[in-house]
Each structure stands twice: as C-alpha cells, then as structure tokens.
Symmetry: C2
Subunit: 533 residues, 2 copies
Amino acid sequence: MVEDKENSASAGQEPVSKKAAKKQAKLAKKAEHKADTAAALAANEAAGDNAADHAAARYGLSEMIQSKDKRSEREFVTVPELSAHVGKGLVWVRGRVHTTRAKGKQCFLILRQQSSTVQCILAVGDIISKQMVKFAGNIPKESIIDIQAKAVAVPTKIESCTEQSLELSVEQIFVISQAKAQLPLQIEDASRPENADDAEGLNIRVNQDTRLDNRVLDLRTPANQAIFRLEAGVCRLFRDILTEKGFTEIHTPKIISAASEGGANVFTVSYFKDSAYLAQSPQLYKQMAIAADFDKVYTVGAVFRAEDSNTHRHLTEFVGLDLEMAFKYHYHEVLHTIGNTFTAIFKGLRDKYSREIEAVGQQYKVEPFKFLEPPLILQFAEGVAMLREAGIETGDEEDLSTPNEKLLGRLVKAKYDTDFYILDKFPLAIRPFYTMPDPNNPMYSNSYDMFMRGEEILSGAQRIHDPEYLIERAKHHGIDITKIAAYIESFRYGCPPHAGGGIGMERVVMLYLGLDNIRKTSMFPRDPKRLTP
Amino acid sequence: MVEDKENSASAGQEPVSKKAAKKQAKLAKKAEHKADTAAALAANEAAGDNAADHAAARYGLSEMIQSKDKRSEREFVTVPELSAHVGKGLVWVRGRVHTTRAKGKQCFLILRQQSSTVQCILAVGDIISKQMVKFAGNIPKESIIDIQAKAVAVPTKIESCTEQSLELSVEQIFVISQAKAQLPLQIEDASRPENADDAEGLNIRVNQDTRLDNRVLDLRTPANQAIFRLEAGVCRLFRDILTEKGFTEIHTPKIISAASEGGANVFTVSYFKDSAYLAQSPQLYKQMAIAADFDKVYTVGAVFRAEDSNTHRHLTEFVGLDLEMAFKYHYHEVLHTIGNTFTAIFKGLRDKYSREIEAVGQQYKVEPFKFLEPPLILQFAEGVAMLREAGIETGDEEDLSTPNEKLLGRLVKAKYDTDFYILDKFPLAIRPFYTMPDPNNPMYSNSYDMFMRGEEILSGAQRIHDPEYLIERAKHHGIDITKIAAYIESFRYGCPPHAGGGIGMERVVMLYLGLDNIRKTSMFPRDPKRLTP
C-alpha cells in the first residue's frame, strides 16, 4: 500500500475520551486491515514481478478520504487553468480517468474534469517505474484520481482533448475513488454525435432508458453537463428579469385539499387520516398573492400531472415557472411583460451560455433559436386561417392538436422567421373556468399560449377577479363550488384585475436547444413508467 | 350608473363574426342589466335625495375590468412617488380604501397601496357634490379604487399615514373592485403591535387561525408584506451567493419510489397502479449530481414530512434550501463555505432589507440579529460541557432536546454575543446512515448543525462516498439495501468526497426576525391540521 504521506499526517487530531479511544482503536484496526487488503491487491497488480520499485511512494490507492486530517496544503489547479502553468513547477490536479492505455514503457491517460480533458503521460525513467506505468494503465475508467505533474507544451495539437496545446508529465498518481471495471455505458458512446457519419452503423449508441437507468454516468457527457448548466441559466434569467421588473418570489403549497384544476389528472396523497392532492399548478395561490397585495409575483417549483401520457413532451412531475401580475386596464400589459421576459431570456442564453449551446450542438443537431424583438403576436383566429390556407380542416372553437400546433409553428417560421411567437385570444370553450371571457366577442377569451419551435411552452390568461362572475363560470363548467370556496372567497375583499401564465421549464430548455425528448432536460425525469433513479 | 368615459371608449375594438356578435349582444345586455342594478343601488345610496348631482360623472362603480379597451392613456402614480407631484397637476392613483369617513360636507379617506398610505380629502364644492362625499364615505374598506387627485402639501404631519407631508385632494373616484362590507378581520387589528401598551386589554387581537383562515386579508398587513418580501430576499441571497461561488442550481424529483430517509414520516402517493412517496429531502439526488460531476450544487424546493408534530416550528411541507459540494480533503472546506454563505445572507438582509426588518419590528418585538465574522464553530462535546456546567444532565451521545438546544443558544449568546453558531462533530449514533463517521473518534461523525437564536436551521455532514462502506452503515441502521440500490450504485463509478446540508427556509426567516411561529413565515402553511387555504 502506497500511502499519500502528506495527507496522512496526524497533526491536528483532537483529543478523545478513553471510551472513544478504545472504539476508535478497534475501528482503525479494521480500516487498516481493509486498506492492507486493497494495498496488497494493488501492489500485486502493479508489480507484476517482485522487482524493487523505486517509484513505490509515488502511486497507489489512496485511503478513503474521511477528513482524517486538517486541510491539505496542496493547491489544486483546474484543467482550464493549466495553460498558465506550462513550463513552471509541479501542480496537483484531481479528475477522472477518461481513458488510459499503457504500452511498453509509457502510459497515456486522458484526465477529465467535467467537460474539460487533458492528456497525461507517464514514461519509465528516474521518477516513474515500470510498475507505476502498469498501475496507471490499469486504473478503471471513471475513477477519480489525484495527480502531481508538470504542464508541458506540445508541438502538435492534441485533437482528442479540450487542452490541445499542452500535456501533463505525471510524477505522482493516486486513486481517490475507484470505479467498477465494468461500466453499464461508456461515456464515449453516450457522447457520440447523433448526426455523425455512420453509414455502416458501427458506432454504438446508448438508448434513452439505459441512459436514465444509469443517469449518474449519463450526466457526465459534455452535452449533459451543458444542458443542465443552461437549465440553471433559464431559471436564473427568469428570476432576475422578473425581480428587475418588480416581481416578488413566493412559495406555494404542493399538498392541497382539493384538485385545483379538475379532478381528472391529479395525484392523491394520504394525509394523516385524510386524503389530499398534489397541486397541478400554483394557479390559485399566485392569484391569492395578488389579492393579498403582492402586485407581481412569480414562483418556481414542482407541479404534478397524473396523466398517463407517454410522449416526448409529457412528464408527471416538472418544474413550473409561474407568474401572476395585477394590471390597470388591459391584460396585454401582462402579455407584453411575459413576451419581453422571454425575449430577455433568449438574449441572456445567447450571450451568456454560448459555450453550453455549442457543447450541446456537438452532440445534437441544433439549429440556432430565432426570435423577434418585440415578439410576434398573432390572434388565434389568424392561426386558424393560416392552417386552413395550408389545407387543414379545423373548427373556430377547436383546440390546436399537437400536429396542427407543430404545423402552425412551421408556417409561422416560414412567414415570419421566428421560433417564438404568442397566440392570443383562444376560444373560451377550451380554457379553464377562471379565464376571463373576451368582452368584445363571447366566442373568445382573454387568454394566450406561447410557443417555441411550434410547441406550447406557456399557457396564460386574464383571470376572473369578480367572485360572482367566477361562480357563474365555475358552475357553467360543472365545478363543485363548495370545493373552491376558499379560492372564490379570496376575491370578496377587493382584488385588482390580473393575468399571468405558467411555463414548463424543461420544455423551454428542450425547445430552445432543439432537442427531441423532454427526458433530456429533466435531471431525474418522472413519467408513468419511470420513478427511478 | 356613472361610467368611466375615458375607459369605455369603444375605439380599437376588433371586428367580430355575426354569430359571435349575436352572442356578444346577449352578453352585453346581461352585463348592462347587472351594471344598471349596481348603479342604481350606488346612486340611491349616494344621492339620499333626488337633488341634481353636478358631480355625477366623477364617481361611481366602475364596470368590471375585462380588458374591453386598448390600454388606457392614464398614467398612474404610486403612493411613494406622490411627493414629486405636490403642487402640480392631477394624477391617477389606484389603491385600497384603508379607512373612510364622511362627516357633513367632507370625506376623509385613507388610501393604501401595499404598505404605503396617503390621506385623501373630498370636500363639497364646485367639483365635489354632497352625493359624491356620501358615496366616498360608504365605500367598503379594502375595496380597490381609482382616484384622480391633486397632491397638496399639509402644514402639520399626518401621523396616521406613511405619506406624512401631503394629502390628496380628490376630483374623481371610481370603485374598481368592491369588498364585502363585513370583513372577517380588520387590517388594523391584524397590524396592531404585539407589545403595545394594553393593560386593560381593550385592543382586539387576531388569533393565528383566524389569520390563516383569511390569509388573503392577513397578508395585507405591513408586517406580512415585509416578511414575505424578506423571505424572497433570503432565497435570492442564498442563490446569488452560491452561484457566485460556482454552484449550479439543480431540480430534484419530489415523487420518489422509496422513502429516502426511513419510512416513518413519509407521505404516500398513489402513482397510477403503484404507490410512491413524497421526498423528505433532495438528499440522494443532490449527491447523485455530485457523483455526476456537477461539483457544487444547490436546489430550492418543497420537502415533505409526515410528522404529526403540532409545534411552533414544524410544518408538513416546507421549502428546503439544499446544497452539496465536492471537497478535496476535509469536510470543513464545505462547512466553512456554508458558514460564510450564512454570514453573507445576514449581511445582505441587514443592508438591503432594513425597511422590511423595521416594518416587522413595528408589529413584533424584534431584537436585531447578531452574528460573528467568521462564524463561531463549537464542537458538540463543548456544547455538552456548557450545558453540564449550567446544571443540565445530558449524555455524550444524546441528541439535543429542544429545551437544551434553546438553553445552549442562550449560553452561547451570553458567552460569545452571537445569534448564529455552528455545532460540529455530532455523535454518530444520532445521525443518518449515510453520515461519514469521524475517523479520529468512532463515537462522533463528520456532521454538523447550525443554529439561529438557539434553534436548528441546518443539518449537514460529510456523506459516505464509498459504496461498500455505505452498505455496511446502512445495514447497521437496519435499512433494506434493495430499496436504496440505485443510490448505492451511483457511488460505484467514482465519486469525490463531498458534504452538504439542508436549510429550512421558513425557519431562517422566522428566527432571523425573532418571530414565535413558523406559520408566520409560510405564506400558506401546511401542518397536520391545516390543508387550506
């Protein structure tokens, strides 16, 4: 067993009680035995023969890092920082073994840190032994290692790494966390471009379920590292832009006493001796916040839909980006606020996440996302007319089917060259009971959807803020008034006119990046057939 | 019916189909009838007699704002902006009737906008009629009104309003949304200082349940307006500080297939033909994100505890501010990161939310929150010693009871003058199975709690990143290994040492402000007995 001396210094240990010391001694002995076994295995594997090993202290399996000692003095350098260390002294780097290959007296190892990679070399000589080269060549892929090395400039570009102009000449190498030798999927396969030239089908692909079953490995691909960083960016931009506009963040309960939007697709929860439901949206609560004088609010949180839909764009649990806003006279005050928020998000992504967009593009065929400023607003009736012009039969009060929605997206893209647009004035008949009817045309309502690449990502409307009118509309929809009494009651003490909308976060990321499945943008997706990991 | 002429201009109406026009006419007639009835009532109420009303066009009930017309040209001014309009022309203001009182030829009305108030005057004369004064005096409290008025400087301070140096001389007044005449609670009562001199008990108090049953009204008090704005600030600071430190936001599923932290206090959900659970924490998922190379992650979201605890500090659903971070050698790298994050949050609140803190202080007795920089870190054993010194009998491996926790907080405050401290090295026996034991003393673990005003607000630890050791510890705790297979599996492909913690958001806000009940800091609280509103 080669120990990391620097790290095992016992300085700084706290004094312990006698009883504790006894227990500790027992545990320490056990740990020692375990370590010995591991060390023996490692030594055997590495040595191959019994030749003396002049590098014995410079490699091996590290003890499990259990915070035994105070902070190490070692200063670690990240892979992107390495270029500043070329030609200088030794540095420490922690990363994963992306690939490793020992051949004769040399070992080539690629070290990966998130999406960055650098080539490392061990060559037998004064510092490195034959055994050390063999050891390095046998470290299972994906293991986490610490290396001490010198950064050296290389004459020809290393095409296979993100650091192309340097390599690391390794002097020490320790395994911090060893991976299983057999991986359920190879990062290389999971990272392979989808549109790569592969006429003979020789390249292995990793299917969606294998990826999700082994999500911890799958998430390590450069595309996935980028997708979820960009997703964090979407949330950050959403919040920052709305905060700037005077919105207040609120938190709404997920466990509710009555199914807020009809009982069909709601999950039931056992609540002590009662039953409760999982909120299908924060709708009623964000409206109550408006009635409670918060004026403009948003909330980011889980929403639940018990729909048995196994499609590319449905999840049973997703993250809702919801907002609600009081207005003075016309719900377009809100519609424009939301539209402009999207424009600002698209600009923020384009300007601050270009590296992530590029990384995703290297695996998936991504057409840049196009948008207009200010955003395009069409009337629902105009959309229907465009569809009819394209030969589609669709009724005036008929909701857009998924194929029609997509077709309309293509028609809009062809005519206006935008991947984002707003469809205003949906038919009243196809919207929830709390939607304000259009006072100028009873067939329509003051409601809107917003679309990215031809798929709906926001649904919103002016809400009815008058309690009597709300009851009338609820009854019209056959809703049991007693079950929404608290909701209706909240409008009896004065409530400003207001409108809002709910955005599906995963859909926004999927469609912004032009991906084909929402499971690619949910870190741990839930659908009718998947509850794990 | 006095109509708001400016707002009812029919310019800009869209053309409608014949069928729609017919429907519309019907609806319009109905609406007209309704408005007429309301108008008649209002007119009767206002007129008192049949005298001609020269102000008839300048007051009344407005039609329901249904976005009939394009945006109004009216420019609205907020109450805090009014001081810039003193002595200038007419302005429009929308707000609530806080109080109103007509007496003879004058009406004094206080208009409230969130936490701002301004006095408004209507006096009979060329512009205002007797009927208009009566109308204004009869508007139910909490109704939303639009007024057009001139801002006028006043010689003596108006103590009862936030705008103390001006009043509004009203020329038009319209009710936008009328409140019920009988309110279930009075804002004035709900806003009354708790520590006010009230020896004779003449002042009405509003109890917690009445407040929560009528949350939409209760939330309108200045203290509540401030509490939830400060709460939004806590989340914002938490996220911004961690983003600055290189953390990535993630989202973790709330519906899970197995109870993550033992089955005792978990809610069950019907999941199609199966059963599932509501996550008691994002623990396993944020660790998987670390194993998946995200390095430093945080997540803000709902967590659920099916505990039948009816205390001042337990909720069945609350917002968790969770973080997890890979470290190099010692979990104190993480402990210090979390400690410094708290310091930065406290500073941010102190510097950016002083107005909110003051507003809460006007209702509740709030001692300023004290903290040290860097934060105080004590060993668990030191805490035990301090308690024993104070005469408390407590075991070395015994968890802190709530009274002991509070007492220790007072002892720490007395000795170190801080309301925030960290207790490190908790006994292993009282921590979850995935907690890393202390390698230097088997009685303890690499775990910590953090406290505000003597109550726990964060629990955290180094986690076991070695799968075999994790299995050993899980078995020791009697946990069914098959149920956490996916969790254990995620450490088999290389995982860096890591630590983290989970913070209860509502507790942080409650304790920062020195409030006595967590229901004061949850907008719509959930406890074993409360599922509404």
